[in-house]
Amino acid sequence: MIVRPVQVSDLPALMTLVQQAGPGFTTLPANEDRLAHRVRWAQRAFAEQVERADADYLFVLEDDEQRVIGVSALAGAVGLREPWYNYRVGLTVSSAPDLGIQRQIPTLFLNNELTGQSELCSLFLRHDQRHGSNGRLLSLGRLLFVAEFPHLFGEKMIAELRGSADEQGCSPFWDSLGRHFFQMDFSHADHLSGLGNKAFIAELMPRQPLYTCLLTEQAQAVIGQAHPNTEPALKILQSEGFAHKGYIDIFDGGPVIEAPIRSIRTVRDSLELTLSIGTPDDQAPLWLIHNRRLENCRITVAPGRRVGSSLVIDRLTAKRLQLQPGNSVRAVPLPNQQQQAVAA
């Protein structure tokens, strides 16, 4: 099992995968032209032919039979080509001590404050592959890539988690807010957003702050709440140091979680080690290992034994990484948890 950059030859497999993900997966719509365009851009990004503003690092998870079973991505920067909007959940205080009045009213402030930060996005793992360390490899592999190439990214890494919605895909937050300004249902807006119209839609929203007390109770209740389907992804990122600092999605109210790149566990704790081939013991811990290459990037999870500045792994793992003994790797122990990232 490896994570590697997407290639044009992956397109048919990718299309099948994206179709399985369904319409809620708006950043990778099941549209061949758009998908092909994105794959070509990703290849240029891995070849360092694009500016950070346009960099879209699209990875696939491939099993040993060369089947694509998952996808995940990293955006070099958000908001540098078109505005990136969030609400920040702030506070308005209405106070008149003489009258015993002291009201705290959470208030949504439209902002572009995350402009220039890097984003984790477009993660999907095939349903029948959600076991073992697959989810962690697909999600955290990206972070090890960031650890190796920090100059390609911003100061912070963010991830927008899908907000709460009912089984029909209706979002109470949207129904109480966005709908009034667009007169379209959430799935339609979400679809337009996936087609790259998100900034246009955002520009229809009111610029003035909004008092949450004027939203429906259902909408207030889902502010900053992730969709239950994203809980596993959320847990993985939380254990990496990601936290919700008050930014939410302007459409569905889902949380934006963030972490300064230098303090992300995988980035902070990763080590440059020399690859050595051998037999790790049966109890050897799992390591997330990167071959330190950009265009020919390979990342995998395997048992490893650290000896001084060397990491002892088996021959097959070295082969997966396309490395020889004596090559340098970047590696970090894989957190010992069973969460499966399935969508983020």
Binding site: F181, F200, C213, L214
Partner: protein, 338 residues
Amino acid sequence: MLVLRPVEPNDLPQLQQLARDSLVGVTSLPDDSERLSEKIAASCASFDSDVAAQGPENYFFVLEDLDTRRLVGCSEILATAGFNEPFYSLRNRHFTSASRELNIEHGVPALSLCHDLSGHTLLRGFHIDAALVRTPFSELLSRARLLFIAAHAPRFAEAVITEIVGYSDEQGHSPFWDALGKHFFDLPYVEAERLCGLQSRTFLAELMPQYPIYVPMLPQAAQDCIGRIHPDGQEAFDILEREGFETNSYIDLFDAGPTLYARTANIRSIALSQTAKVQEEPLIDARGRYLVSNDALHGFRAVVAELDFQPGQPLALDPALCAALNVRAGGTIRVIAL
């Protein structure tokens, strides 16, 4: 006979009874003797003042039954809204959402706190005894203010406004207040209006939302209150609407009652009222019902009378009317058909 005159210090006890009976939303009439005596004193000073231009004056009138010495109504003119403290309203305007790329454009009404009505003359504090509702005397109580403005135009602005009490139910619940103001105060509507009367209304307004409120985000019951009149405020509205006042995009920030607006010079009782010289003699043949006022300042009086009025001719008034209006033969009075 019922006569409208400026309030006097010894009117306080009766005035307080009127205040007690008045509609909750008439916040310029607090049921509080201290506040009322301040208002009386301020009014006396206003009538006595020798001003050449509009300022902070507040002219407070009462309607008195000369036979019983009972006060049966009151009304006020604030020369300048927002003179001493900001005058707040909610402006109801469309916020336009437009995207050329998506070919979408539509407007969303939004309420914004504003001071746009500052500087206008404000009619307020209208309250009449329930027995006199929809009689010529409520016309007198409301419109005599306009005759006063006609007689003393330099003391007033070029536009006159009034806020009509908005809808609340019989239990005193205002759906608009419950949807908006309550979030910022955590007080029932009645209590908020009471505080407005006692404390400064501005003080409370400053606790209100400073950012626009998008109307579709309010519950339907609250949306339905926008511009809706309290049943007991309907007459005050109707009288001024007949005078040429119109509603506009401004509403009250507590109960969403409508604001009425008119250019002073276009108000019917101001544009069409005429002055005449008094002839003190018995009335022979009344031809119509009129509102009649003298053009005095602190001696201002106004009554409803049956008259034989011919434009440009001296007007015959019987001695009782002359006494009520405090005029003599040769004096000037102002007349407008009821």
